[in-house]
């Protein structure tokens, strides 16, 4: 049995007996259970912003128009979904059917769906084989009208909100709901102010003359969150614009096409290039594939900080404890150093391994444990595919070990020249400072995995493992994998050699820690 192994084994067994170790191991399952528990509790309960409209226009035509516009817009999207593909269409129809069966016979939605059926629209849809653009304009208009009316009903009533959300998660009722405020009494604003103070509403709008010079009013106590204001303004603007356009159409005799042209916006279809060079649709799981590296970079960062701290503390303690010299009569300094590095590595990787196991189990079990909608959202992330991709995981594991070994060598050398923890804290500051860089560059590199910043950071040995993990979403070309691997192997070798030299001298030193210049001198002296 090699002495390095014996030293490593002792470190591991010793660490395993500490409370910290078991807290570390249990942190992951407890964390995952907490997160799932929260997801379970909060499923569907997004932070809902309630708002009121005090509409002083005649018969409140303006707010009705805004609702209608929004409904047409959002449910038009659903109509697009209906036509997206056969499978989606079928799934949607099934969801629709299941939900509708639960409703009372005279529920407005049932009536609207019956309209849908009575007018033969479903057959029309089937005829065009899913391509909505092939629908005759009249059918399309009718379809939109019914859907809009149906949507409006859902959007207007808080009771039906959850029903609406079952059809489409992207509806604005997910985040905002109009409380259908009805102005009674002398001073309705007084009443609204009271509701605002009592936190019954998040904000209210006062609309008097949307076409005149007088501005409408937005009253809230929270001006950091402007999303509700933007959301309402967007639809209100659309209403105002369409009224102006309608007026122009009559005055200037514009065709419907002219109006469509005026309203046309800039439309984007998101695509990406697959590994085989083909253009393909961007899916949510692709996004999570480029976000996953962040998780790994973060994990490496935590691991490096956690494990090297253990190593540093352990070395300094052993040194101040005077046991080092006894050990050195049995093992060589490099055996002792390597034993420590590997012993702590076993400890750290055991903790991380347990985390990974729980995480993988969590990802696998999530669809079974989470309530309906949350499960399908979770599934769309495609995390289970990442978990199943061995090459992807192996590259992370490799860079992970490399990153740890490099920093371990540096920190053990620092630990060896310090006589107290306080000294070591001062000396390790530059290393901790250097470790901020991967943290800061994490997002920019993720956004541009093959950009200049990513490439520069890759070839600084301190950051190679971080950068290469970070860039996995790219992914970088094969030669970069080869070059960075070669670089990191050489760097680790050099770091271990240098650290062994510093360790051999440093570990028996007492008193003031040496100057950097002295340490560099030790590293230059040849080993015997």
């Amino acid at each position: 049995m090699s002495k390095t192994y014996m030293v490593a084994q002792r470190e591991f067994v010793e660490n395993m007996r500490t409370k910290t170790f078991w807290i570390g191991v249990l942190a992951a399952p407890v964390g995952i259970i907490l997160v799932y528990g929260l997801m379970f509790l909060l499923a569907g309960k997004t932070d809902l912003r309630r708002y009121a409209i005090l509409d002083k226009t005649e018969n409140q035509w303006f707010s009705s128009a805004v609702h209608e516009e929004r409904s047409e817009n959002e449910f038009g999207e659903i109509l697009g979904l209906v036509n997206a593909s056969e499978a989606d269409q079928k799934a949607f129809a099934e969801r629709l059917q299941a939900s509708i069966e639960k409703l009372a016979e005279d529920h407005p939605i049932r009536r609207l769906i019956r309209d849908f059926e009575n007018q033969g629209l479903l057959e029309d849809l089937a005829k065009v084989d899913g391509d909505r653009s092939k629908l005759p304009a009249a059918v399309r208009a009718k379809l939109l009208k019914i859907t809009t009316a149906w949507g409006l009903k859902l959007m207007m009533d808080e009771k039906d909100r959850n029903l609406a959300l079952q059809f489409a998660g992207g509806l604005s009722v997910k985040d905002y709901i109009d409380i259908q405020f009805e102005a009674v009494g002398e001073d309705p604003e007084q009443e609204l102010n009271k509701m605002l103070r009592d936190d019954k509403i998040f904000a209210y709008f006062v609309v008097e003359d949307p076409f005149g010079d007088k501005k409408s009013k937005y009253v809230s106590n929270n001006f950091t969150d402007s999303k509700l204001r933007n959301h309402y303004s967007k639809h209100a603007t659309a209403v105002i614009r369409s009224r102006h356009v309608e007026r122009l159409r009559q005055e200037k005799d514009l065709s419907r096409q002219d109006i469509a042209d005026i309203n046309a916006g800039f439309r984007i279809d998101k695509k990406q290039i697959s590994a085989s060079g083909e253009e393909k649709e961007v899916e949510i799981k692709d996004a999570s594939r480029s976000f996953a590296p962040l998780v790994f970079v973060y994990a490496l960062w935590i691991a490096v900080v956690m494990m090297t701290q253990m190593l540093l503390t352990n070395t300094v303690e052993e040194k101040s404890n005077r046991i080092i010299e006894v050990l050195l009569s049995s093992v060589s300094p490099s055996e002792l150093m390597n034993g420590k590095i590997f012993g702590i590595a076993f400890t750290g990787f055991t903790i991380l391994g347990s985390w990974s196991l729980f995480l993988i189990a969590g990802i696998k079990l999530a669809p079974k444990l989470l309530p309906g909608q949350a499960a399908s959202q979770f599934g769309a992330l495609g995390l289970d595919q990442i978990v199943q991709d061995p090459l992807y995981l192996a590259s992370f594991l490799g860079y992970f070990i490399a990153g740890y070994l490099f920093y371990a060598a540096v920190l053990v050398a620092i630990g060896s020249v310090c006589s107290s923890l306080k000294e070591s804290q001062n000396l390790q500051q530059p290393v901790m400072f250097a470790l901020f860089v991967p943290f800061v560059t994490m997002f920019p590199i993720m956004q541009d995995p093959n950009g200049t910043l990513a490439k520069v950071i890759t070839y600084i040995p301190l950051y190679t493992p971080f950068a290469m993990m970070n860039r996995a979403g790219g992914p970088p070309p094969a030669w970069e994998y080869v070059a960075s691997t070669a670089l990191i192997v050489v760097s680790i070798w050099l770091a271990f050699r240098g650290a062994a030299k510093v360790f051999r001298v440093g570990v028996l030193m007492t008193g003031k820690p040496p100057k950097i210049r002295e340490i560099l001198k030790w590293m230059r002296t040849p080993t015997r």
Binding site: I323, E325, S329, S330
Partner: protein
């Protein structure tokens, strides 16, 4: 794996040979051109004031430091690295893993010296029990008293039955009971034909135990050789226990030096002076309770050799 060699079958005659060994730390010469032969089976004392170079010499022997010049042969091998498992070393600054159990740590030291797991575990428990720590086998080191800790450290040094044991200041900080344990242990090594080197700056300890001594000061060897020879060379002295005016002692003729402690004194005579005349001269001037003709103490040898340089 059992020990490769037993002391009886080893073929070397000197357990340790140093030849012209020099070690420098920057401009400071810690050990200067030192040569020594340490015969197998002897108890060898390294004497010298603090900072004389004892620990540096020992660390070079253990291959913890390397000499800048000169050669060291340990158990017939060019350096300690190849025979580390046959050496036992107790440094001056010694420690234990606080969280490890007593029996575990002793066994761990044994394992690091190449003993197999089960032998080391068994032997550790056996030795601890033998040394009166049977109740502490499964207790953590941090719960033990300092004296117990020192015993555990000593056992860690000897569990693998080393041929050469090097103890750096083994007596420092020991209470009288543990000092006796240490002395007995050192003597038992000799009985097993093992070689023991220990360093000390307390002469009485060396005088009691050593076959050979080596005296070092400021990195240079002052003298070395069998203890008996060293003590019989040099001037003879008388030990006098007395009451009365001590100035009488200093006024004696033919006296080279007086170590006066007030009620007892060591008086060194030049070679022509007869101790009987000294006794006659003193009678009537002071009350003599004891008059003892003796060899010079090692303490005197030490002081003479080191002169006023010692910081003792």
């Amino acid at each position: 794996m059992a020990l490769q060699t037993s002391p009886a079958t080893s073929s070397y005659t000197d357990a340790l040979v140093l030849k012209d060994v020099t070690k420098r730390f920057g401009d400071f010469v810690a050990v200067d051109n030192l040569s020594l032969n340490i015969p197998k089976g002897s108890i060898y004392g390294f004497l010298g004031p603090n900072g004389a170079g004892k620990t540096t010499t020992i660390r070079m022997v253990m291959s913890i430091f390397y000499p800048d010049e000169g050669e060291i042969s340990v158990l017939g091998h060019p350096n300690a690295e190849s025979v580390k498992d046959r050496l036992g070393y107790l440094p001056e600054e010694k420690g234990l893993y606080k969280k490890m159990k007593t029996a575990e740590i002793v066994a761990y030291f044994g394992k690091l010296k190449g003993m197999d797991r089960s032998t080391a575990n068994l032997k550790a428990r056996e030795m601890l029990t033998q040394y009166g720590l049977g109740d502490w086998l499964d207790k953590k080191c941090e719960t033990m008293s300092k004296g117990m800790g020192q015993k555990v450290q000593l056992l860690g040094t000897m569990i693998h039955e080393p041929e050469l044991v090097i103890l750096d200041e083994p007596f420092s900080g020991l209470d009288p009971v543990n000092m006796e344990v240490m002395r007995d242990t050192i003597r038992s090594f000799k009985q097993d034909n093992r070689t023991v080197i220990f360093s000390t700056h307390v002469m009485a300890q060396a005088e009691e135990l050593c076959d050979y001594i080596f005296l070092i000061n400021k990195g240079k060897k002052v003298l070395d050789g069998p203890l008996r020879e060293i003590k019989t060379t040099g001037d003879h002295s008388v030990k006098i226990d007395y009451d009365g005016d001590d100035s009488v002692l200093h006024q004696l003729s033919g006296v080279t030096r007086v170590n006066d402690a007030g009620k007892s004194a060591e008086v060194f005579l030049d070679s022509t002076r007869d101790p009987q005349d000294v006794l006659a001269e003193l009678v009537g001037k002071i009350t003599i309770r004891k008059f003892d003709l003796s060899e010079p103490s090692l303490h005197e040898v030490f002081l003479r050799a080191v002169g006023g340089d010692s910081d003792e």
